[in-house]
Amino acid sequence: MKRFDADAIGEKLLRKLAGHTSRRSMVSRLGLALVAAPAFPLLPVSRAEAAKPDRSPEAKTAFARNAQTQDDTKCDYWRYCAIDGALCSCCGGGIHSCPAGAEPSPVSWVGTCINPDNGKAYLIAYRDCCGKPTCNQCGCDNADRETQLYTPQLNNDIIWCFGTQSMQYHCSTAVLVGGAE
């Protein structure tokens, strides 16, 4: 069985993670800030290989075993393996679309979720949509590989609204960034 190799997710994904919004100048500024802080871990890179548990895509978490691919307005939709908040799909937006009047954050936390249709792992950027009051629909709190603030890009509690006009949290999207293997 192929083990999930977090280290194989390279720096090349930085720009993808940073998103493709119209706020490119903001994105590049943030990108520089992140790159300029070398000890800030950009991606889920394990530094404790010895203690690393079996986390191959095949040895699925409880979420992954039960995930579905049909309905992105339910918490068990496969991409939502580490989402926390209101699903934008239930708020007038979509899986990668902010509801009207909200603005996607160019930076985000990430998850590595397994698509049950093909068994492959994908990197998901959970971009918060910002600038409107909380959409209280479809609250989910999944936590596969979700960690603490000292690894912020893997923490789903932070208000990920940077580079947006307002930092008010509205809802969260789950944007497919690429394959994680």
Binding site: K74, G93, G101, P133, T173, V175
Partner: protein
């Protein structure tokens, strides 16, 4: 069929909400691809007759926009605590009258009408105004002139007045003092009217100009059997419809000198004796935080009713009574599963009722049959406004 389908079907046994998605579970294809995606932002259409606008509630900002047919949330108008919303009759803007301090609960007070584009739902402008009233749960503290060019914002300092706002030019015009009156009533071609504590109706003609105030004769006992501020207005008939605490129904043909009808009893219209203001007398009464909604197509008023004694006018509704105003008959009564705090009725061809409770659970009923169509968790626990008819 992929293995997960079994899971989806298996889930249906335990999760009620699954019934909605079971139909699509047969599809084996993910609605989305597996190629990298870009983030974007949607726009929405101007308000439609099937739409409801539901305030979050006391502690919850925002006004959710729901499609009454599907029960789905379409978007949200940003609205702060104690704000009031009005909808541009042309459908181009949502106006939010709000009060914001520069440091949350302290600092500089900033009263304004915030203008949102109805398609992008983005903030377009802020129009500074003075001293709007701070109160939760009202529809008639911010109304618009028929042509949408003027807005009237109730002002309370604590003396009563009305702020006149030029929405076309996006500027504050003036404050009209209106002692002892509140609850603003549209009065096309004239200005606006209001109910007063002496039991009269005040009419303010040319509010942006001379602002001449006239009063009708006193027609209701304001202290003893007050009229709910949550009244209805029929634009086509230019008619305001009021219900009092005891269930007396008044209508007012609006104009420079509004013509107010003698009242009739809502309870009599349902076959009961009229309700009493006397203690130790149990009757059905109208009540709750937003007791009444109106469908202009059918001319029906939908009233939240409860059993109790007089001065129980804040009790939530256990039934909806549907009053045919012209024929003075309660046409239908819908018992409710849970007591309702607010009620709205859509203006589309197949009218829907939206009710909610204090916990924010929203329920959509068929306005003709009372049949439950949708139940929405956390829909909002504040007042419900229906979009205008087409």
């Amino acid at each position: 069929m992929k293995p997960h389908s079994a899971y989806v079907y298996g889930m249906c046994a335990t999760i009620a909400a699954c019934a909605v998605s079971a139909g699509s579970a047969a599809l084996a294809k993910d609605p989305h691809g597996l190629e990298p995606e870009e983030s974007d932002v949607v726009t929405i259409s101007p308000p439609k007759p099937d739409w409801f606008f539901v305030r979050g509630g006391w502690n919850v900002d925002g006004t959710g926009i729901y499609d009454g047919k599907t029960g789905k949330m379409l978007g949200m108008v940003a609205s702060s605590q104690l704000s009031d919303m009005a909808i541009d009759p042309a459908g181009k803007y949502y106006y939010v009258s709000e009060t914001i301090w520069s440091k949350g609960n302290r600092g500089t007070r900033q009263d304004m009408v915030s203008v949102y584009d109805s398609s992008s739902l983005k903030l377009v402008s802020e129009i500074a105004i003075p001293n709007r009233i701070l109160v939760n749960e009202r529809e008639h503290n911010f109304i618009l002139a028929d042509d949408g060019k003027l807005g009237f914002v109730y002002n309370f300092s604590p003396a009563s007045a009305v702020n006149v706002v030029d929405l076309a030019k996006r500027k504050f015009v003036k404050t009209v003092e209106l002692p002892g009156c509140a609850a603003l009533i549209p009065n096309p071609g004239v200005g606006f009217s209001a109910l007063c504590s002496d039991g009269s109706m005040a009419t303010v003609a040319a509010p942006a100009g001379k602002a001449q105030i006239t009063h009708s004769a006193s027609f209701f006992p304001a202290n003893d059997d007050p009229i709910f501020e949550n009244f209805a207005y029929d634009k086509a008939k230019n008619l305001a419809i009021f219900v009092s605490y005891t269930g007396l129904v008044y209508t007012a043909k609006m104009g420079a000198s509004p013509v107010i009808s003698a009242p009739f009893s809502l309870q009599e219209a349902a076959g009961y004796a009229p309700a009493s203001t006397k203690p130790l007398s149990v009757d059905w009464y109208p009540g709750s935080r937003q007791p009444m909604a109106y469908n202009a197509t059918t001319g029906e008023v939908f009233v939240l009713m409860h059993m109790g004694e007089y001065w129980s006018h804040k009790a939530f509704g256990d039934e909806i009574w549907v009053l045919d105003v012209a024929n003075r008959k309660v046409a239908r009564r819908f018992p409710l599963k849970d007591p309702a705090a607010h009620i709205g009725v859509s203006q589309g061809a197949e009218a829907m009722i939206f009710i909610n409770d204090e916990k924010g659970k929203g329920t959509i009923l068929d306005a003709r049959t009372g049949e439950e169509k949708h139940s929405i968790d956390a829909a909002g626990s504040g007042i419900i406004v229906a979009a205008a008819g087409s």
